[in-house]
Amino acid sequence: MKRTYWILILGIVLVSCRKEIRNVYEIDPVHVGQRGSKTHLKSDLQFVSIAYSDLFGRQISTQELNTLIAGYNSVGDKGLVIDLIVRNLLQKPGIVKETASEMQSDPEAFVKKTFERFFIRKPSEMETWFFSDLIRENSDLNPEDFYYALMSTEEYRYY
């Protein structure tokens, strides 16, 4: 009787101490980029092709790329020629863009979307405030102006 008692007690203990197995299904953490993590300068080729695909949502054709690279290599002041490339691309039809009214109706959403599109990161609180305020205070600014501003920055030259 006593032996049976101890077997029963041991069985209860073993059952009660078994580790519960829980299967967890979740998405791996996504690394949100920070501006400080961009340390690699885009090559000329990368810059032009990334700028094009950021604006048009599709890959640049070989012919267009060759033309832009030929121009890029023809001018010594790279900041100047990058400015020319960006401003010319912004004039071309087919850019994927929000309307000015969409931008004005929800500046914070526009800023977040634009930063993620061009900088591959979320804007900081300061950036969200700065650009949202600009949008509210300056009705003459349109989405292309913000695209231009972001694409002209030093951060945009890096990945």
């Binding site: 900041g79 700065f130 920055t153």
Partner: protein
């Protein structure tokens, strides 16, 4: 005023006056030190490889009537095969300067990039020179911009390259303490100001001054935050904001003229005759007229067709010669440059004495340029400038001067030679100057 204060103030005032830069009637500002021969230098690299036999020795007749005096008729087969050219816009330039008939490229591989590098750095190269890298020693642009007093802006130094491949590297070096901050504005106009280039660069989004200011604030805000992360940008040479606006206005103007057809045959020589060399010089003239830089280097390259076509080489030599004659005419008719510019003309390398096995329509053999052939090192040089500063109608017939002398000569003309004294192996081309 106490006597001590009086003396102190007087001394400070005197020191200030002595050290104060002079403002010339032309509006130009430069320091009292570093006397100059002229305020502008244009160096034309008459490049691509030219033998003295076809240039100054006129073995095929005078192929260079724009530079060299004389009416020697061309060899009949060459005469029958070259494009018709109008008379040069001004008489042969030789009489306006000093001609070195036996200039030399004394050392280093006789390749085009080696020759160019030597010409713009004042140092011979060896086989270690990489075609994928910038020169290892400071270029004349960097020496000028760093050592001129006051320091010169990038808009005062231009490198007009016939192609956008390899040669753009020559606007600055990898040498420590020099580099892009002292480099030249490089422009390869024939690969930029053309129809594809106009489609890609000729219609930029324009901003009003008010909007530009707002956009500038946005960029400043973002760049400020990014810079604080310790990353620096590598953007080649950088113009000041004001000069960048001038360069952009210039490119807009060029694309506008291109669209209007004004660049199709700007010299009236015929659209089929206006080759790449002529176009490169044409745009160099545009830069000269717009910016009036103190230092501009322009090159040509068409004669290199000689590897496979001797007759076409002679034709390209005639066109290059015509273009340089036009260049000098433009300089002399541009206020601010006229009578205040020294033009130096020299090939970078020569070509071999003996032809290769490739023959052209006239049965002439092509000519390569190899380092072990003495004729590949025989050049000429012509120095033109204001009478009273440059010796005119002078010919130096004996072996005198070499490629590495051009940079020290430019330094002396622009008055920064004393600042770089002893740093260069070459010498001032004294024979050309009064």
């Amino acid at each position: 005023m106490k006597r001590r204060d009086f003396l102190k103030n007087t001394a400070l005032t005197a020191a200030g006056v002595i050290g104060m830069p002079y403002i010339l009637p032309t509006g130009r500002l430069f320091a009292a030190s570093g006397s100059r021969i002229a305020n502008h230098v244009v160096f034309c690299l008459f490049a691509g490889g030219i033998r003295n036999l076809e240039s100054i020795q006129k073995q095929e007749g005078n192929l260079m009537k724009g530079l060299l005096s004389g009416n020697e008729s061309l060899s009949p087969d060459i005469q029958a095969s070259v494009a018709p050219l109008p008379a040069t816009i001004t008489s042969a330039l030789q009489s306006s300067g000093t001609l070195y008939k036996e200039f030399r490229y004394k050392s280093g591989p006789s390749g085009h990039y080696n020759g160019h590098t030597t010409a713009v750095t004042g140092r011979y190269t060896d086989n270690s020179l990489s075609l994928l890298e910038r020169p290892p020693f400071p270029t004349v642009f960097e020496l000028y911009r760093k050592h001129n007093s006051p320091a010169a802006a990038a808009s005062n130094a231009w490198w007009i390259s016939h192609t956008n491949e390899l040669y753009p590297f020559l606007n600055y070096s990898t040498y420590a303490d020099y580099g892009p901050q002292y480099g030249a504005n490089q422009l390869s106009p024939t690969t930029f100001f053309n129809n594809p280039g106009r489609g890609a660069f000729g219609d930029p989004l324009q901003h009003t001054a008010d909007k530009a200011e707002k956009l500038g604030k946005m960029k400043e805000f973002l760049n400020g935050a990014f810079k604080s992360s310790g990353i620096t940008m590598n953007s080649g040479i950088v113009n000041s904001e004001e000069d960048r606006a001038r360069v952009l206005a210039f490119t807009d103007k060029m694309f506008g003229e291109l669209s209007a057809g004004q660049h199709n045959d700007p010299w009236g020589v015929g659209t089929q005759v206006m080759n790449g060399d002529m176009r490169n010089v044409f745009y160099a003239e545009k830069v000269l007229q717009e910016f009036k830089p103190e230092l501009l280097v322009v090159n040509m390259f068409g004669v290199d067709i000689c590897h496979s076509n001797f007759t076409a080489y002679c034709d390209a030599l005639r066109r290059a010669d015509w273009a340089v004659n036009h260049l000098w005419h433009t300089i002399q008719n541009t206020p601010g440059l006229a009578n205040d510019t020294v033009l130096i003309i020299a090939p970078e390398i020569g070509r071999n004495a003996n032809p290769n096995t490739v023959t052209d329509i006239n049965g002439r053999g092509g000519l390569d340029h190899t380092s072990d052939d003495a004729m590949s090192r025989e050049l000429f040089a012509l120095v033109l400038g204001p009478p009273g500063k440059v010796n005119t109608n002078k010919v130096v017939s004996q072996v005198t001067g070499e490629s590495i002398d051009i940079v020290p000569t430019i330094a002396r003309i622009l008055g920064f030679d004393s600042e770089i004294g002893g740093a260069l192996p070459g010498r001032f081309m004294q024979e050309a100057f009064v």
